[in-house]
Subunit: 456 residues, 2 copies
């Protein structure tokens, strides 16, 4: 019994999905039962690498959704609208949806989930996070016995590619970005990637599944790599760390919240120092990895290609197969599998991270005078922040010199501002660290807090 598939979009991912459906041999036999019945495209006349019968193509995505021959709607057009409306239209027609659209799910996931639950249909999103890496299904179906403590990941391939090259070549951010754009690894408008918004979309989705309740996308503290200085990447390497854009969702507090009370999450995206032996530290280039920490499972990690036609199509087809597979269980009046449907079961509240505990990397511009390190150490000590290492690097080069004198003005006396000191703290509560840092910024020897990065 074949199952009719309607595809919204025939770009990279859509063509990848069509290619899998067109050559089922050697794949799971259920693939052979999937039949591509309608495809919505923007331009009928555009030449395509994949031969599709002309009568399959339509410029009306609504017509594809509404076609009675289409039983599962696959949305791979991207963007917020009309994608959101089309997903809701499919749900309203009682048709399950598979989407790779992280932006829509991160922003309108609650609305879509509510509509899907009301109609009793599945909306599956494996391709929305981590490309071909199976991460959504395992979070839903393989880790439910755990209390999740933290989900952290490298979930943006473009920034990881840039950071990998900055680390390998000692190159500056802007230079690597320009080259990545030339090579097609970064888009012409790279903002969503390099400013962290794409990673924030994805961690919102992962956290929602890991913690069982929607996570407000707008509340996620987000910092990209676009202001990251190559020297921090280089110093981190000398101290045994790599710098990665890490997205994290962490539960604060422990124990069960009072009935009806939400659990508190700290969800954030920012450049982060990882010790070289950390499982995420070895993730290079455009690969992605997601680390899930739970009780009692401990640490499990999922690694693979975070983007690309083939990997993303693999994830889309996985979702289609799951819908096709579960259709064989019940009749038309069947209920939903609560794991596959991933209905939310508690409330999550985002809190500011001031009570979170972590290590920190700080780079200071100081005068090159005796006693500076002692005075910095004393400030940390007075605030109860213990230090793992404090290192004075060579006198800054011309670029930093110029930056120092222009940024701090003459009052600091840039002529004497020659030393660069990097401090790595032990694990400390964020607000306590901020207090110490404010005191250090006021020291007369310290001309600038040049960089401050969280450290796992």
């Amino acid at each position: 019994m074949t199952i009719g598939i309607g595809l919204l979009g025939l770009g990279t991912v859509g063509a990848g999905v069509a290619a899998i459906l067109a050559s089922p041999e050697g794949r799971h036999p259920l693939v052979a039962e999937l039949e591509l019945r309608r495809v919505a495209v923007r331009d009928l006349s555009r030449p395509r690498p994949l031969q599709l019968a002309a009568e399959l193509l339509s410029t009306s995505p609504e017509a594809v959704v509404d076609d009675p021959a289409v039983e599962i709607v696959v949305e791979v057009m991207g963007g917020l609208e009309p994608a959101r409306s089309l997903i809701l239209r499919a749900i309203a027609a009682g048709k399950p949806v598979v989407t790779a659209n992280k932006a829509v799910i991160a922003r309108f996931g609650e609305e879509i989930a509510a509509a899907a639950a009301a109609k009793g249909v599945y909306v599956l999103i494996e391709a929305a996070v981590g490309g071909g890496i199976p991460i959504i299904e395992p979070l839903k179906q393989s880790l439910g016995g755990n209390r999740i403590q933290r989900v952290s990941g490298i979930i943006n391939g473009t920034t990881n590619y840039i950071l990998s090259r900055m680390a390998d070549e000692g190159a500056a951010y802007a230079d690597v970005l320009a080259d990545a754009q030339r090579l097609g690894y970064a888009e012409a408008d790279p903002a969503a990637d390099v400013q962290g918004g794409d990673a924030a979309d994805k961690i919102a989705i992962l956290a929602g599944l890991a913690y069982g309740g929607p996570v407000p996308r707008a509340g996620i503290a987000t910092e990209g790599i676009d202001r990251l200085d190559a020297r921090d990447v280089a110093y981190a390497a000398q101290l045994g760390f790599v710098v990665k854009l890490v997205a994290t969702a962490e539960r604060l507090g422990s124990g069960a919240p009072a009935p009806g009370e939400p659990i508190s999450l700290d969800v954030r995206v920012h450049p982060t120092l990882l010790p070289k032996q950390h499982p995420l530290a070895g993730v290079h280039g455009v690969n992605n990895a997601i680390l899930v920490e739970g009780d009692p499972v401990g640490q499990v990690m999922f690694y693979g290609p975070g983007a690309g036609a083939g990997p993303t199509a693999s994830a889309v087809v996985a979702d289609i197969l799951n819908i096709a597979g579960i259709r064989q269980v019940g009749g038309s009046e069947a209920g939903l599998d609560p794991l596959l449907a991933a209905s939310s079961w508690r409330q999550c509240e985002l809190v500011d991270g001031s009570s979170s505990r972590h290590r920190n990397y700080v780079r200071l511009h100081t005068r090159d005078e005796a006693g500076v390190i002692g005075r910095i150490g004393s400030c940390f000590g007075a605030a109860g922040v213990s230090i793992q290492s404090i290192v004075q690097f060579e006198a800054r080069d011309g670029e930093a010199e110029a930056e120092a004198s222009s940024a701090e003005g003459s009052a600091e006396g840039s002529a004497g501002a020659k030393a660069e000191i990097v401090v790595i703290t032990h694990e400390v509560q964020e607000d306590q660290f901020r207090q110490a840092l404010a005191a250090i910024a006021n020291l007369s020897d310290v001309t600038k807090v040049a960089a401050c990065l969280r450290t796992l």
Copy 2:
């Protein structure tokens, strides 16, 4: 509506499962619907860390299976019998089974799967491979759109712990094994681990799922780490490799086989050199990782704790939740989800690896004479085997000297046998390599082929 669970075995894993069921708060809400109704133990009087009502316990596993209040049977007793019979008994009673028993599944998986299919019940085995790592479910439910080329993994924690310490400390196998036994990382009888049998059980299971048909356990070429020389670990490190016990299942040939014809698999377990940047190379200590390579997904890897009460219990509970979840879809006459049931859909045949292609590491004892390297190189060249590196290490120490003279006897003239030469070949077909190696072993300069290891 609660679901009755019957537990066969209350050892480390069984107690871990009971602990999760006893404290559902903060876990998926479906956990709260699972009720532990009967537990089979060997000895009622044994003190246990976990408090269970006395009336739950029974010394008769058959009584637990047969109890009408038990709806899902969880087998965590281990061993071949009575585990196999009890699993079949549960299936015959129409009860789904969750088992962590890789030995039973690797040997009797076909019999169990046939019985389960006939009765229309699920037998789920997430905990049988990779401890807490979700790998069985992703293979079944997230990668079905792919043609799998290779599954390779570090799937035995004991040997990985030993190899990690051999590499870090330069220690000998026997010394680390003794210490691992003292620390509880290796069993008093370590044979199943160190000789590779446990890894062979697990790769048989993974290959069966990845390729959609049962893999004959007895046909898996298996070599353990018990004859691995510490010097090969050390030389490998100097050449940029780590030595791991890798289990691999690889499809030979490509394209669809003729209808009714099996696909050809090369399935093996042996110590393997991995380049230091290989994704599996960074897996240390008792951790496990499984790398799946498919078209179009590329390489995805699953990493985490390969054993232990908590991780394994997490996997067992995941399976129980999946059965509980899918029960909500259909009534009593519901069909099986073909993905979750993982029914086999083609035949697999094991072939000898003579046509497989890979790199090789060879360590030779030779006379320390001019021209030896040239003559070795010529032998490889004559057989069409190209060489990546050929390195002469320092003259052997006393131990190797003694080994050389006792093993080769006086005919070789051990007095002149002083050099140790390590060759890494480029990728070459196995039978071609064997031919070259036979010619080299016959060279008068070569006193012994001291080690030969496959290299990825």
